[in-house]
Protein backbone atom coordinates (compact mmCIF):
# COMPACT_ATOMS: atom_id res chain seq x y z
CA UNK A 1 0.00 0.00 0.00
CA UNK A 2 2.69 2.38 1.06
CA UNK A 3 4.77 1.51 -1.91
CA UNK A 4 1.99 1.88 -4.43
CA UNK A 5 0.99 5.25 -3.03
CA UNK A 6 4.49 6.58 -3.07
CA UNK A 7 5.19 5.39 -6.61
CA UNK A 8 1.98 6.98 -7.79
CA UNK A 9 2.93 10.19 -6.06
CA UNK A 10 6.43 10.00 -7.45
CA UNK A 11 5.02 9.45 -10.93
CA UNK A 12 2.76 12.47 -10.82
CA UNK A 13 5.52 14.71 -9.45
CA UNK A 14 7.96 13.33 -12.00
CA UNK A 15 5.43 14.16 -14.70
CA UNK A 16 5.14 17.73 -13.45
CA UNK A 17 8.91 18.03 -13.31
CA UNK A 18 9.22 16.67 -16.82
CA UNK A 19 6.65 19.16 -18.04
CA UNK A 20 8.48 22.05 -16.36
CA UNK A 21 11.75 20.99 -17.89
CA UNK A 22 10.23 20.62 -21.34
CA UNK A 23 8.93 24.19 -21.11
CA UNK A 24 12.34 25.49 -20.01
CA UNK A 25 14.11 23.59 -22.77
CA UNK A 26 11.60 24.79 -25.34
CA UNK A 27 12.12 28.38 -24.22
CA UNK A 28 15.86 27.95 -24.38
CA UNK A 29 15.56 26.44 -27.84
CA UNK A 30 13.47 29.39 -29.05
CA UNK A 31 15.76 32.04 -27.56
CA UNK A 32 17.86 32.66 -30.70
CA UNK A 33 14.64 33.55 -32.56
CA UNK A 34 13.87 36.61 -30.50
CA UNK A 35 16.98 37.49 -28.48
CA UNK A 36 19.84 39.65 -29.77
CA UNK A 37 23.02 37.78 -30.68
CA UNK A 38 24.88 38.99 -27.63
CA UNK A 39 22.35 37.44 -25.27
CA UNK A 40 22.42 34.18 -27.16
CA UNK A 41 26.18 34.15 -26.71
CA UNK A 42 25.72 34.98 -23.02
CA UNK A 43 23.24 32.12 -22.62
CA UNK A 44 25.72 29.73 -24.22
CA UNK A 45 28.38 30.88 -21.74
CA UNK A 46 25.96 30.35 -18.87
CA UNK A 47 25.18 26.83 -20.06
CA UNK A 48 28.88 25.99 -20.33
CA UNK A 49 29.81 27.44 -16.94
CA UNK A 50 26.78 25.74 -15.46
CA UNK A 51 27.77 22.40 -16.94
CA UNK A 52 31.29 22.87 -15.62
CA UNK A 53 30.01 23.84 -12.16
CA UNK A 54 27.64 20.86 -12.13
CA UNK A 55 30.48 18.50 -13.00
CA UNK A 56 32.49 20.07 -10.19
CA UNK A 57 29.56 19.58 -7.86
CA UNK A 58 29.52 15.83 -8.57
CA UNK A 59 32.78 15.65 -6.66
CA UNK A 60 32.33 18.63 -4.36
CA UNK A 61 28.70 18.63 -3.26
CA UNK A 62 27.79 14.99 -3.76
CA UNK A 63 31.17 13.43 -3.06
CA UNK A 64 32.36 15.83 -0.38
CA UNK A 65 35.78 15.97 -2.05
CA UNK A 66 37.67 19.25 -1.94
CA UNK A 67 37.93 19.62 -5.69
CA UNK A 68 40.03 22.81 -5.57
CA UNK A 69 41.36 22.74 -9.09
CA UNK A 70 38.55 21.58 -11.32
CA UNK A 71 39.33 24.19 -13.99
CA UNK A 72 42.32 22.08 -15.05
CA UNK A 73 40.03 19.48 -16.59
CA UNK A 74 37.98 22.19 -18.25
CA UNK A 75 41.11 23.73 -19.74
CA UNK A 76 42.60 20.43 -20.83
CA UNK A 77 39.37 19.53 -22.62
CA UNK A 78 39.48 22.89 -24.40
CA UNK A 79 43.15 22.60 -25.32
CA UNK A 80 42.82 19.02 -26.54
CA UNK A 81 40.07 19.83 -28.97
CA UNK A 82 41.77 23.05 -30.12
CA UNK A 83 45.13 21.40 -30.74
CA UNK A 84 43.56 18.45 -32.55
CA UNK A 85 41.44 20.71 -34.74
CA UNK A 86 44.36 22.99 -35.55
CA UNK A 87 47.23 20.59 -35.91
CA UNK A 88 45.80 17.32 -37.17
CA UNK A 89 43.62 16.31 -40.07
CA UNK A 90 41.59 13.88 -38.08
CA UNK A 91 37.80 14.11 -38.45
CA UNK A 92 36.44 16.90 -36.18
CA UNK A 93 34.07 14.49 -34.43
CA UNK A 94 37.09 12.58 -33.17
CA UNK A 95 38.62 15.78 -31.79
CA UNK A 96 35.40 16.61 -30.02
CA UNK A 97 35.36 13.19 -28.40
CA UNK A 98 39.03 13.38 -27.51
CA UNK A 99 38.55 16.48 -25.34
CA UNK A 100 36.50 14.78 -22.62
CA UNK A 101 38.51 11.57 -22.93
CA UNK A 102 41.84 13.30 -22.32
CA UNK A 103 40.29 15.26 -19.44
CA UNK A 104 39.03 11.98 -17.95
CA UNK A 105 42.47 10.43 -18.36
CA UNK A 106 44.06 13.38 -16.57
CA UNK A 107 41.39 13.03 -13.89
CA UNK A 108 42.35 9.39 -13.50
CA UNK A 109 46.07 10.14 -13.17
CA UNK A 110 45.62 13.05 -10.78
CA UNK A 111 42.98 11.08 -8.90
CA UNK A 112 45.35 8.14 -8.41
CA UNK A 113 47.73 10.46 -6.59
CA UNK A 114 45.17 12.55 -4.74
CA UNK A 115 42.55 10.12 -3.41
CA UNK A 116 45.06 8.71 -0.96
CA UNK A 117 44.39 11.85 1.07
CA UNK A 118 41.20 13.49 2.20
CA UNK A 119 39.69 16.92 2.72
CA UNK A 120 42.11 19.84 2.78
CA UNK A 121 45.13 17.69 1.96
CA UNK A 122 43.34 16.27 -1.04
CA UNK A 123 42.48 19.77 -2.21
CA UNK A 124 45.98 21.08 -1.76
CA UNK A 125 47.53 18.17 -3.59
CA UNK A 126 45.12 18.62 -6.46
CA UNK A 127 45.94 22.31 -6.49
CA UNK A 128 49.66 21.62 -6.80
CA UNK A 129 49.27 18.95 -9.49
CA UNK A 130 46.90 21.23 -11.35
CA UNK A 131 49.29 24.14 -11.24
CA UNK A 132 52.01 21.93 -12.71
CA UNK A 133 49.70 21.24 -15.65
CA UNK A 134 48.90 24.95 -15.86
CA UNK A 135 52.53 26.02 -15.89
CA UNK A 136 53.37 23.50 -18.60
CA UNK A 137 50.53 24.78 -20.78
CA UNK A 138 51.60 28.33 -19.99
CA UNK A 139 55.20 27.77 -21.04
CA UNK A 140 55.05 25.30 -23.89
CA UNK A 141 54.83 27.87 -26.68
CA UNK A 142 55.40 25.52 -29.58
CA UNK A 143 52.56 23.22 -28.59
CA UNK A 144 49.99 25.25 -26.67
CA UNK A 145 50.78 28.77 -27.82
CA UNK A 146 52.03 29.67 -24.34
CA UNK A 147 50.44 32.66 -22.64
CA UNK A 148 48.86 33.82 -25.92
CA UNK A 149 46.80 30.68 -26.13
CA UNK A 150 45.33 29.29 -29.33
CA UNK A 151 43.05 31.49 -31.37
CA UNK A 152 40.98 30.97 -34.48
CA UNK A 153 40.34 27.30 -33.83
CA UNK A 154 38.72 25.90 -37.01
CA UNK A 155 35.40 24.79 -35.56
CA UNK A 156 33.23 22.97 -38.17
CA UNK A 157 31.02 25.53 -39.93
CA UNK A 158 27.77 23.87 -38.85
CA UNK A 159 28.37 24.84 -35.23
CA UNK A 160 30.64 27.85 -35.55
CA UNK A 161 27.98 30.57 -35.91
CA UNK A 162 26.53 32.17 -32.79
CA UNK A 163 23.27 30.27 -33.15
CA UNK A 164 24.96 27.06 -34.25
CA UNK A 165 27.30 27.00 -31.29
CA UNK A 166 24.42 27.90 -29.00
CA UNK A 167 22.33 24.96 -30.15
CA UNK A 168 25.33 22.66 -29.95
CA UNK A 169 26.02 23.84 -26.40
CA UNK A 170 22.35 23.53 -25.47
CA UNK A 171 21.93 19.99 -26.74
CA UNK A 172 25.24 18.76 -25.37
CA UNK A 173 24.62 20.36 -21.97
CA UNK A 174 21.19 18.82 -21.69
CA UNK A 175 22.51 15.39 -22.56
CA UNK A 176 25.46 15.78 -20.19
CA UNK A 177 23.29 17.08 -17.37
CA UNK A 178 20.89 14.21 -17.88
CA UNK A 179 23.75 11.73 -17.73
CA UNK A 180 25.07 13.26 -14.53
CA UNK A 181 21.58 13.24 -13.07
CA UNK A 182 21.23 9.55 -13.83
CA UNK A 183 24.65 8.80 -12.34
CA UNK A 184 23.96 10.75 -9.16
CA UNK A 185 20.64 8.96 -8.69
CA UNK A 186 22.06 5.52 -9.33
CA UNK A 187 23.35 3.22 -6.61
CA UNK A 188 26.77 4.70 -7.37
CA UNK A 189 25.53 8.20 -6.59
CA UNK A 190 23.74 7.08 -3.44
CA UNK A 191 26.89 5.50 -2.11
CA UNK A 192 28.90 8.56 -3.13
CA UNK A 193 26.70 10.69 -0.90
CA UNK A 194 27.12 8.21 1.91
CA UNK A 195 30.89 8.55 1.52
CA UNK A 196 30.52 12.31 1.70
CA UNK A 197 28.60 12.08 4.95
CA UNK A 198 30.78 9.47 6.58
CA UNK A 199 33.69 7.79 4.81
CA UNK A 200 34.64 5.52 7.72
CA UNK A 201 31.15 4.13 8.10
CA UNK A 202 30.90 3.59 4.33
CA UNK A 203 34.05 1.55 4.38
CA UNK A 204 32.53 -0.44 7.24
CA UNK A 205 29.55 -1.50 5.13
CA UNK A 206 31.82 -2.81 2.41
CA UNK A 207 32.30 0.22 0.19
CA UNK A 208 35.68 0.67 -1.46
CA UNK A 209 35.88 4.35 -0.62
CA UNK A 210 39.08 5.28 -2.45
CA UNK A 211 38.07 3.45 -5.61
CA UNK A 212 34.68 5.12 -5.51
CA UNK A 213 36.33 8.52 -5.18
CA UNK A 214 38.69 7.75 -8.04
CA UNK A 215 35.78 6.86 -10.33
CA UNK A 216 34.08 10.07 -9.23
CA UNK A 217 37.18 12.01 -10.22
CA UNK A 218 37.14 10.46 -13.67
CA UNK A 219 33.43 11.18 -14.16
CA UNK A 220 33.74 14.78 -12.96
CA UNK A 221 36.81 15.35 -15.13
CA UNK A 222 35.05 13.86 -18.15
CA UNK A 223 32.11 16.26 -17.94
CA UNK A 224 34.46 19.16 -17.25
CA UNK A 225 36.17 18.16 -20.49
CA UNK A 226 32.79 18.30 -22.25
CA UNK A 227 32.32 21.84 -20.94
CA UNK A 228 35.82 22.74 -22.14
CA UNK A 229 35.05 21.49 -25.63
CA UNK A 230 31.84 23.54 -25.70
CA UNK A 231 33.80 26.60 -24.63
CA UNK A 232 36.02 26.24 -27.69
CA UNK A 233 33.06 25.93 -30.04
CA UNK A 234 31.59 29.13 -28.63
CA UNK A 235 34.77 31.20 -28.26
CA UNK A 236 36.95 29.65 -30.95
CA UNK A 237 39.96 29.85 -28.68
CA UNK A 238 41.73 28.35 -25.68
CA UNK A 239 44.09 30.16 -23.31
CA UNK A 240 46.00 29.35 -20.11
CA UNK A 241 43.57 31.25 -17.89
CA UNK A 242 41.13 28.40 -18.47
CA UNK A 243 43.35 26.33 -16.18
CA UNK A 244 43.97 29.00 -13.57
CA UNK A 245 43.17 28.33 -9.95
CA UNK A 246 41.19 31.56 -9.62
CA UNK A 247 38.82 30.21 -12.25
CA UNK A 248 38.57 27.02 -10.21
CA UNK A 249 37.59 29.05 -7.18
CA UNK A 250 35.03 30.90 -9.27
CA UNK A 251 33.40 27.57 -10.18
CA UNK A 252 33.34 26.63 -6.52
CA UNK A 253 31.59 29.92 -5.80
CA UNK A 254 28.96 29.05 -8.42
CA UNK A 255 28.26 25.79 -6.60
CA UNK A 256 28.16 27.53 -3.24
CA UNK A 257 25.91 30.29 -4.53
CA UNK A 258 23.38 27.97 -6.12
CA UNK A 259 23.54 25.37 -3.39
CA UNK A 260 25.87 22.39 -3.48
CA UNK A 261 23.53 19.84 -2.06
CA UNK A 262 21.16 20.34 -4.96
CA UNK A 263 21.52 19.15 -8.54
CA UNK A 264 20.53 22.35 -10.33
CA UNK A 265 22.11 24.71 -7.82
CA UNK A 266 25.45 25.06 -9.65
CA UNK A 267 23.60 25.90 -12.89
CA UNK A 268 21.70 28.64 -11.09
CA UNK A 269 24.91 29.89 -9.50
CA UNK A 270 26.60 29.97 -12.90
CA UNK A 271 23.70 31.92 -14.36
CA UNK A 272 23.90 34.51 -11.59
CA UNK A 273 27.67 34.91 -11.71
CA UNK A 274 28.06 34.94 -15.50
CA UNK A 275 25.28 37.47 -15.99
CA UNK A 276 26.57 39.56 -13.13
CA UNK A 277 30.06 39.57 -14.56
CA UNK A 278 28.74 40.62 -17.95
CA UNK A 279 26.19 43.17 -16.80
CA UNK A 280 28.18 44.74 -13.96
CA UNK A 281 31.27 44.55 -16.14
CA UNK A 282 29.59 46.95 -18.56
CA UNK A 283 29.42 49.69 -15.94
CA UNK A 284 32.58 49.18 -13.93
CA UNK A 285 35.88 47.37 -14.03
CA UNK A 286 35.37 46.52 -10.36
CA UNK A 287 32.92 43.69 -10.86
CA UNK A 288 35.08 41.33 -8.75
CA UNK A 289 34.31 43.62 -5.83
CA UNK A 290 30.63 42.82 -6.27
CA UNK A 291 31.46 39.12 -6.48
CA UNK A 292 33.48 39.34 -3.27
CA UNK A 293 30.66 41.08 -1.42
CA UNK A 294 28.15 38.46 -2.61
CA UNK A 295 30.51 35.71 -1.54
CA UNK A 296 30.93 37.16 1.94
CA UNK A 297 27.18 37.58 2.38
CA UNK A 298 26.68 33.99 1.24
CA UNK A 299 29.18 32.60 3.70
CA UNK A 300 27.70 34.55 6.57
CA UNK A 301 24.01 34.18 5.82
CA UNK A 302 23.33 31.49 3.22
CA UNK A 303 25.89 28.69 3.53
CA UNK A 304 23.60 26.18 1.80
CA UNK A 305 23.09 28.35 -1.28
CA UNK A 306 19.98 29.77 -2.89
CA UNK A 307 18.35 26.48 -3.90
CA UNK A 308 19.45 24.83 -0.66
CA UNK A 309 17.77 27.63 1.25
CA UNK A 310 14.46 27.19 -0.53
CA UNK A 311 14.61 23.42 -0.32
CA UNK A 312 14.99 23.54 3.43
CA UNK A 313 11.76 25.45 3.83
CA UNK A 314 9.69 23.49 1.34
CA UNK A 315 7.84 20.38 2.54
CA UNK A 316 9.60 17.12 1.76
CA UNK A 317 7.40 15.69 -1.00
CA UNK A 318 7.77 11.97 -0.26
CA UNK A 319 6.93 12.47 3.36
CA UNK A 320 3.16 12.54 3.30
CA UNK A 321 2.36 9.27 1.52
CA UNK A 322 4.59 7.34 3.91
CA UNK A 323 2.38 8.38 6.79
CA UNK A 324 -0.75 7.03 5.12
CA UNK A 325 0.16 3.62 6.37
Amino acid sequence: MVKRLSTRYAKSSALKLLLAFSVVILLLALCPQFLPRFFVYLLALILISGLQATSLNVALGYGGMYQFHHAVFFGIGAYTVSIMLMKTNLPPALSFLAGPMVAALLGFIMGLICVRLSKLYFGMLQLSLGSLVWIVVFRWYSFTGGDDGLHGVPVPSLISSVNGSYYFALITSIVALFMMYVILNSPFGRILQAIRDNPERSEGVGVRVKLHQLVTQVIAAFFAGVAGVLFVTVEGSAFPDLLSWTLSLEFIIMCLLGGWFTFLGPMLGAAIIVSLRTLVGVYTEYWTFALAVILMLLIFFLPEGVLGYFQRFSPVPEHSPAEDK
Binding site: Q193, A194, R201
Partner: protein
Protein backbone atom coordinates in the same frame (compact mmCIF):
# COMPACT_ATOMS: atom_id res chain seq x y z
CA UNK B 1 33.58 -18.79 13.94
CA UNK B 2 35.78 -16.03 15.35
CA UNK B 3 39.03 -16.86 17.09
CA UNK B 4 41.23 -14.16 18.54
CA UNK B 5 44.63 -15.08 19.89
CA UNK B 6 47.12 -12.87 21.71
CA UNK B 7 46.09 -9.72 19.95
CA UNK B 8 48.06 -6.66 20.90
CA UNK B 9 47.74 -2.98 20.03
CA UNK B 10 49.46 0.09 21.34
CA UNK B 11 49.24 3.77 20.50
CA UNK B 12 52.67 5.24 21.07
CA UNK B 13 53.50 4.43 24.68
CA UNK B 14 49.97 3.55 25.59
CA UNK B 15 49.11 -0.13 25.41
CA UNK B 16 45.40 -0.25 24.67
CA UNK B 17 45.17 -4.00 24.17
CA UNK B 18 48.01 -6.02 25.64
CA UNK B 19 46.84 -9.56 25.17
CA UNK B 20 43.31 -10.43 24.18
CA UNK B 21 41.83 -13.85 23.48
CA UNK B 22 38.27 -14.46 22.43
CA UNK B 23 36.22 -17.24 20.87
CA UNK B 24 32.82 -16.85 19.30
CA UNK B 25 30.95 -19.90 18.01
CA UNK B 26 28.25 -19.92 15.35
CA UNK B 27 24.87 -18.83 16.73
CA UNK B 28 26.16 -17.56 20.05
CA UNK B 29 25.59 -14.27 21.79
CA UNK B 30 28.87 -13.22 23.34
CA UNK B 31 29.43 -10.17 25.50
CA UNK B 32 32.67 -8.43 26.30
CA UNK B 33 32.64 -6.55 29.58
CA UNK B 34 35.20 -4.64 31.55
CA UNK B 35 35.81 -1.30 33.20
CA UNK B 36 36.24 1.88 31.18
CA UNK B 37 39.51 1.89 29.33
CA UNK B 38 39.84 -1.88 29.40
CA UNK B 39 40.31 -1.92 25.64
CA UNK B 40 36.90 -3.19 24.50
CA UNK B 41 36.32 -0.58 21.81
CA UNK B 42 39.88 -0.96 20.57
CA UNK B 43 39.41 -4.71 20.36
CA UNK B 44 36.25 -4.27 18.31
CA UNK B 45 38.01 -1.87 15.98
CA UNK B 46 40.80 -4.40 15.55
CA UNK B 47 38.29 -7.09 14.60
CA UNK B 48 36.44 -4.90 12.11
CA UNK B 49 39.61 -3.63 10.48
CA UNK B 50 39.55 0.03 11.54
CA UNK B 51 42.78 -0.64 13.36
CA UNK B 52 45.51 -3.12 12.51
CA UNK B 53 46.85 -5.17 15.43
CA UNK B 54 50.58 -4.99 16.23
CA UNK B 55 50.61 -8.67 16.99
CA UNK B 56 48.43 -11.74 17.26
CA UNK B 57 45.88 -13.35 15.00
CA UNK B 58 42.21 -12.79 14.30
CA UNK B 59 40.60 -15.68 12.47
CA UNK B 60 37.09 -15.34 11.09
CA UNK B 61 35.53 -18.30 9.28
CA UNK B 62 38.96 -19.96 8.99
CA UNK B 63 40.52 -16.85 7.44
CA UNK B 64 43.12 -14.60 8.96
CA UNK B 65 41.59 -11.11 8.89
CA UNK B 66 44.01 -9.17 11.06
CA UNK B 67 45.04 -6.01 9.20
CA UNK B 68 42.59 -6.37 6.31
CA UNK B 69 40.77 -3.23 5.17
CA UNK B 70 37.32 -2.73 6.76
CA UNK B 71 35.49 -3.14 3.47
CA UNK B 72 37.05 -6.58 2.91
CA UNK B 73 36.24 -7.74 6.41
CA UNK B 74 32.69 -6.53 5.93
CA UNK B 75 32.40 -8.51 2.72
CA UNK B 76 33.40 -11.68 4.56
CA UNK B 77 30.20 -11.37 6.58
CA UNK B 78 31.15 -9.33 9.61
CA UNK B 79 28.97 -6.32 10.43
CA UNK B 80 29.86 -3.56 12.84
CA UNK B 81 27.74 -1.06 14.71
CA UNK B 82 29.44 1.79 16.51
CA UNK B 83 29.28 3.17 19.99
CA UNK B 84 29.26 6.77 18.84
CA UNK B 85 26.37 7.15 16.44
CA UNK B 86 27.84 6.94 13.02
CA UNK B 87 25.20 7.35 10.35
CA UNK B 88 24.98 9.25 7.07
CA UNK B 89 23.57 12.53 8.30
CA UNK B 90 22.33 14.10 5.09
CA UNK B 91 20.63 10.97 3.75
CA UNK B 92 17.16 9.81 4.69
CA UNK B 93 16.68 6.86 6.98
CA UNK B 94 15.74 4.72 3.99
CA UNK B 95 18.82 5.76 2.04
CA UNK B 96 21.06 5.09 5.02
CA UNK B 97 20.10 1.45 5.08
CA UNK B 98 19.84 1.20 1.32
CA UNK B 99 23.48 2.23 0.95
CA UNK B 100 24.60 -0.72 2.96
CA UNK B 101 22.26 -3.11 1.11
CA UNK B 102 23.51 -1.78 -2.25
CA UNK B 103 27.06 -2.29 -1.16
CA UNK B 104 26.25 -5.83 -0.07
CA UNK B 105 24.59 -6.57 -3.42
CA UNK B 106 27.77 -5.29 -5.14
CA UNK B 107 25.84 -2.56 -6.92
CA UNK B 108 28.28 0.20 -5.92
CA UNK B 109 29.39 0.79 -9.49
CA UNK B 110 25.97 0.59 -11.07
CA UNK B 111 25.78 3.98 -12.76
CA UNK B 112 22.49 3.75 -14.63
CA UNK B 113 19.69 2.10 -12.65
CA UNK B 114 17.65 4.61 -10.64
CA UNK B 115 18.49 3.96 -7.01
CA UNK B 116 14.82 4.30 -6.11
CA UNK B 117 14.18 0.94 -7.76
CA UNK B 118 17.04 -1.09 -6.34
CA UNK B 119 17.01 -3.07 -3.12
CA UNK B 120 13.78 -1.45 -1.95
CA UNK B 121 12.25 -4.57 -0.45
CA UNK B 122 15.33 -5.71 1.46
CA UNK B 123 15.76 -2.22 2.84
CA UNK B 124 12.12 -1.94 3.91
CA UNK B 125 12.32 -5.33 5.56
CA UNK B 126 15.23 -4.24 7.68
CA UNK B 127 13.61 -0.91 8.51
CA UNK B 128 10.46 -2.67 9.61
CA UNK B 129 12.38 -5.06 11.80
CA UNK B 130 13.98 -2.16 13.69
CA UNK B 131 10.69 -0.20 13.77
CA UNK B 132 11.98 2.66 11.65
CA UNK B 133 9.68 2.14 8.65
CA UNK B 134 7.43 5.02 9.71
CA UNK B 135 10.28 7.52 9.68
CA UNK B 136 11.92 6.21 6.54
CA UNK B 137 11.82 9.53 4.68
CA UNK B 138 13.17 11.67 7.50
CA UNK B 139 16.71 12.95 7.16
CA UNK B 140 18.70 10.87 9.60
CA UNK B 141 20.34 13.93 11.14
CA UNK B 142 16.95 14.90 12.55
CA UNK B 143 16.22 11.64 14.39
CA UNK B 144 16.16 11.19 18.14
CA UNK B 145 19.13 9.51 19.80
CA UNK B 146 17.36 6.20 20.25
CA UNK B 147 16.20 6.17 16.64
CA UNK B 148 19.70 6.93 15.42
CA UNK B 149 21.05 4.09 17.50
CA UNK B 150 18.49 1.75 15.95
CA UNK B 151 19.42 3.06 12.52
CA UNK B 152 23.04 2.34 13.33
CA UNK B 153 22.13 -1.30 13.87
CA UNK B 154 19.96 -1.33 10.76
CA UNK B 155 22.90 -0.14 8.65
CA UNK B 156 25.00 -2.97 10.01
CA UNK B 157 22.22 -5.45 9.19
CA UNK B 158 22.09 -4.17 5.62
CA UNK B 159 25.21 -6.06 4.69
CA UNK B 160 23.54 -9.29 5.78
CA UNK B 161 26.31 -10.23 8.21
CA UNK B 162 26.81 -13.61 9.83
CA UNK B 163 28.53 -12.07 12.79
CA UNK B 164 27.27 -8.74 14.11
CA UNK B 165 29.54 -6.70 16.35
CA UNK B 166 27.83 -4.08 18.49
CA UNK B 167 29.74 -1.55 20.54
CA UNK B 168 27.34 -0.58 23.35
CA UNK B 169 24.16 -0.97 21.29
CA UNK B 170 21.82 0.44 23.93
CA UNK B 171 23.93 3.29 25.30
CA UNK B 172 21.77 6.37 25.79
CA UNK B 173 18.52 4.58 24.96
CA UNK B 174 15.35 4.85 27.00
CA UNK B 175 14.26 1.65 28.84
CA UNK B 176 11.59 1.04 26.18
CA UNK B 177 14.07 1.45 23.36
CA UNK B 178 16.57 -0.78 25.14
CA UNK B 179 13.92 -3.44 25.55
CA UNK B 180 12.92 -3.38 21.89
CA UNK B 181 16.53 -3.38 20.72
CA UNK B 182 17.37 -6.39 22.83
CA UNK B 183 14.18 -8.06 21.68
CA UNK B 184 15.22 -7.41 18.08
CA UNK B 185 18.69 -8.82 18.60
CA UNK B 186 17.25 -11.93 20.25
CA UNK B 187 14.86 -12.38 17.36
CA UNK B 188 17.69 -12.05 14.84
CA UNK B 189 19.71 -14.53 16.81
CA UNK B 190 16.96 -17.10 17.17
CA UNK B 191 15.22 -16.93 13.82
CA UNK B 192 18.11 -16.10 11.48
CA UNK B 193 20.95 -17.67 13.41
CA UNK B 194 22.83 -14.35 13.53
CA UNK B 195 25.86 -14.54 15.76
CA UNK B 196 26.25 -11.51 18.00
CA UNK B 197 29.28 -10.08 19.75
CA UNK B 198 28.67 -6.99 21.85
CA UNK B 199 29.97 -4.96 24.72
CA UNK B 200 27.84 -3.17 27.22
CA UNK B 201 27.94 -1.37 30.55
CA UNK B 202 24.56 -2.53 31.79
CA UNK B 203 25.52 -5.68 33.71
CA UNK B 204 21.99 -6.87 34.29
CA UNK B 205 21.39 -6.82 30.56
CA UNK B 206 24.66 -8.59 29.80
CA UNK B 207 24.05 -11.42 32.25
CA UNK B 208 20.49 -12.02 31.10
CA UNK B 209 21.19 -11.79 27.38
CA UNK B 210 24.61 -13.27 26.64
CA UNK B 211 25.42 -16.98 26.29
CA UNK B 212 29.02 -16.36 27.13
CA UNK B 213 30.94 -13.47 28.56
CA UNK B 214 34.53 -12.35 28.14
CA UNK B 215 36.00 -10.03 30.72
CA UNK B 216 38.70 -7.53 29.88
CA UNK B 217 40.77 -5.48 32.25
CA UNK B 218 43.54 -3.06 31.37
CA UNK B 219 44.05 -4.52 27.94
CA UNK B 220 44.09 -8.14 29.07
CA UNK B 221 41.34 -10.70 28.67
CA UNK B 222 40.94 -12.36 32.05
CA UNK B 223 38.34 -15.02 31.46
CA UNK B 224 35.73 -16.22 29.03
CA UNK B 225 32.85 -18.42 30.04
CA UNK B 226 29.11 -18.77 30.68
CA UNK B 227 27.48 -16.06 32.85
CA UNK B 228 27.43 -18.21 35.99
CA UNK B 229 31.11 -18.98 35.83
CA UNK B 230 32.02 -15.36 35.23
CA UNK B 231 29.78 -14.16 38.04
CA UNK B 232 31.54 -16.39 40.54
CA UNK B 233 35.07 -15.80 39.30
CA UNK B 234 37.40 -14.27 41.90
CA UNK B 235 39.42 -12.21 39.43
CA UNK B 236 36.31 -10.65 37.95
CA UNK B 237 35.06 -9.70 41.38
CA UNK B 238 38.36 -8.02 42.05
CA UNK B 239 38.33 -6.25 38.73
CA UNK B 240 34.92 -4.78 39.35
CA UNK B 241 34.72 -4.50 43.10
CA UNK B 242 38.34 -3.71 43.78
CA UNK B 243 38.19 -0.92 41.23
CA UNK B 244 40.70 -0.33 38.51
CA UNK B 245 44.19 -0.08 39.71
Amino acid sequence: MLRIRNVQKSFGDFQAVIKANLDVEQGEIVAVIGPNGAGKSTLFKLISGYLAPDNGSIIFQDREIAGLAPYRICRLGLGMSFQIVNVFDRLTVFENVQVSVLSHLRRAFDLVTPAGRVAVEQTMEILESVYLANVKDRVSGSLSHGERKALEIAIALGTNPELLILDEPTAGMSPDETFSTIHLLEKLNVSFGLTILFCEHDMELVFSFANRIMVMQQGLSIIQGPPEEVRNNQQVKEAYLGGTR
